[in-house]
């Protein structure tokens, strides 16, 4: 029973990691951009949720109504202002520029909110649990987060493969030049992809802020979790990324159960094992 609980907790946390990863995977898929500031944007969303709840006096989950469009807007503006100029064959410009953004966001948050760690209060829902069978309990909030993660992945999957926007994303990813010849405005498509990515980031950031303490320096480790989930799952497959997030969550939960110091290390080791044994990930869809 003890282990069932541990694995169940890991699976539920894994949903959050899948959300970290989905935004990262989306923009890499569409425009081959790896966003080093991704984790810091997640933390930025958490702070936006904090400010929203305090000024409007609403609960953290309600604050999603404000934070999600706001982050999407930031994404839509960031793309043409900064990131579009970095796209191309050269690897360094996007890495360096997003690294710079990461340093700017981190230190900006540090100077505005100090290094104190914070947590958003969601009220009774935080402690509510459901009994599955005797000895196996599931928190309502982690369960809600997991359901939201499934919904986010399903929505992205739907947008990607069933809508005109998704067709534009896939066409631009396959060949930006031909997509442009077919009448697509690549800059607009890229900006929409970044907006979608940051909308997912906003949801992930709010759940991060409700579930655990956060502070301005946490971004890089969130980026790394998301990245590990993408690679474990296999490039180009959204449900693969979801599975990667779950595997990472379970590995961390098992590690933490053995020794609290091993939580993060166990996740990294699971990632390295997958990399050594199946470098293309567990459910690869595209070849790199």
């Amino acid at each position: 029973m003890e282990w069932i609980n541990v694995i169940l907790q890991g699976v539920l946390v894994g949903g959050l990691y899948a959300m970290f990863a989905a935004g990262l995977s989306l923009i890499f898929g569409v425009m081959r951009l790896v966003n080093i500031a991704h984790g810091d944007l997640i933390v930025l969303a958490a702070y936006l949720a904090l400010v929203t709840t305090e000024t409007l006096g609403i609960g953290p989950l309600t604050s999603l109504i404000v934070v999600v469009p706001l982050m999407a807007l930031i994404g839509y503006a960031l793309q043409p202002l900064v990131l579009n100029r970095t796209l191309g064959d050269d690897l360094l410009p996007p890495l360096l520029v997003t690294f710079g953004l990461s340093v700017i966001i981190q230190n900006g948050l540090l100077s505005l909110f100090t290094a104190d760690s914070l947590k958003l209060q969601a009220g009774d829902i935080e402690v509510a649990t459901i009994r599955l069978v005797d000895g196996v309990y599931v928190g309502v909030l982690p369960l809600l987060q997991f359901v939201v993660a499934v919904a986010v992945i399903a929505a992205l999957q739907f947008v990607f493969y069933r809508t005109a926007l998704g067709r534009a994303f896939r066409a631009t990813a396959d060949d930006p030049a031909v997509a442009q010849l077919m009448g697509l405005d690549n800059r607009h498509v890229f900006a929409l992809a970044m907006a979608a990515s940051l909308a997912v980031v906003a949801i992930a950031g709010v759940f991060l802020a409700v579930r655990a303490n956060f502070d301005p320096t946490q971004g890089p480790s969130r980026l790394i979790f998301g990245f590990e989930a993408v690679i474990i799952g296999g490039l180009g497959s959204l449900w693969g990324t979801f599975a990667g997030g779950l595997l990472l969550g379970v590995a961390q939960a098992i590690g933490a159960h053995l020794d609290p110091g091993w939580q993060i290390l166990a996740g990294h080791i699971a990632f390295l094992i997958v990399l050594a044994v199946r470098p293309a990930g567990l459910f690869p869809k595209v070849r790199t």
Binding site: V82, G100, L265, H268
Partner: protein, 340 residues
Amino acid sequence: MSVRVVFASRSSRVGAALCAAGFVALVAAPMWGGRDDLQLLSEIYAYVALASLWNLLAGYAGLVSVGQEAYVGLGAYLLFAFAILGGISPLWAIPLAGAVAAGVAIPVAALVFRLRGHYFAIGTWIVAEVFRLLASQVAVLGGGSGTSLPAAMIIGIAPSRQARDFLEYWIALALVAAIVAFIVLLLRSRYGLALKAIRDNELAARCNGIDVTRTKVLVYIVTAFGTAMIGAQIFLQKLRISPDAAFSVNDWTAFVIFITVIGGIGRIEGPIIGTVVFFLLRQTLADLGTLYLMMLGLVAILVMLAAPKGIWGLIVERLGWQVFPLERRVVFDERSAAAE
């Protein structure tokens, strides 16, 4: 008609003379500088060395790593482990740390080279995180809170504090001089030609018979060697180590990348110019704290977008200078042609 390849130009002869004069002045720094000056200079040397090594890795071999702090921290921890557990003098421990780190880099390369491009970058970062977490599990070296170099070890380096300061300063200078000289010689060799070919066009380099993967792996291992020695030297001077300080991604990778890009990536002179700019900014603006770091990030972004070749790249474009004789020029020897 005979044909020769020459490296030197007028500007590189001037550069060599200036470098030699500057080097002599820096060797003599203990005569004209105070304790603070020596420490600042040592720190500058460490950053020149780290940036030069990263430049070799990213600027020439095209391996954009954001995990070089793995080797800075590994070198530093090895120095402390050799000194505390093995009783080895810290001076010998520096090259030893480099050699062991190069050995560690071989299996690491086997793993991270499975990732391409951007994914390679973040993969190296994860390796550095693994090293950091493992270091914090080593109880004899202080675990998560770190440890200090024992007093007996410190006295063993040199009996008086002044002699230690001088010795540590000269070690820092010798290391940076050796690393920069090694990179210059490497780039003048046939491996250097291969590296430049890879930098300019990987596919074309492959077509010309260059074993691209092998060359990249070799550069990765050599860079790990140098980076670990610098890490050992930095923390020998600090005398105290902790996982967060030794494996800091900001201190040993973000700043190093900013320095290289601001100075000019893919050129030997770039990291040196970049380090000078970095320290000028730091000495004047460090009081601003977080604002200073935000400005540094902003400057790096602006340079990358507006002048991706950096400061030295602009100088080369406008004036054609080169301090280090690296550019190959073909000279047709007229006299021997007339004799034929």
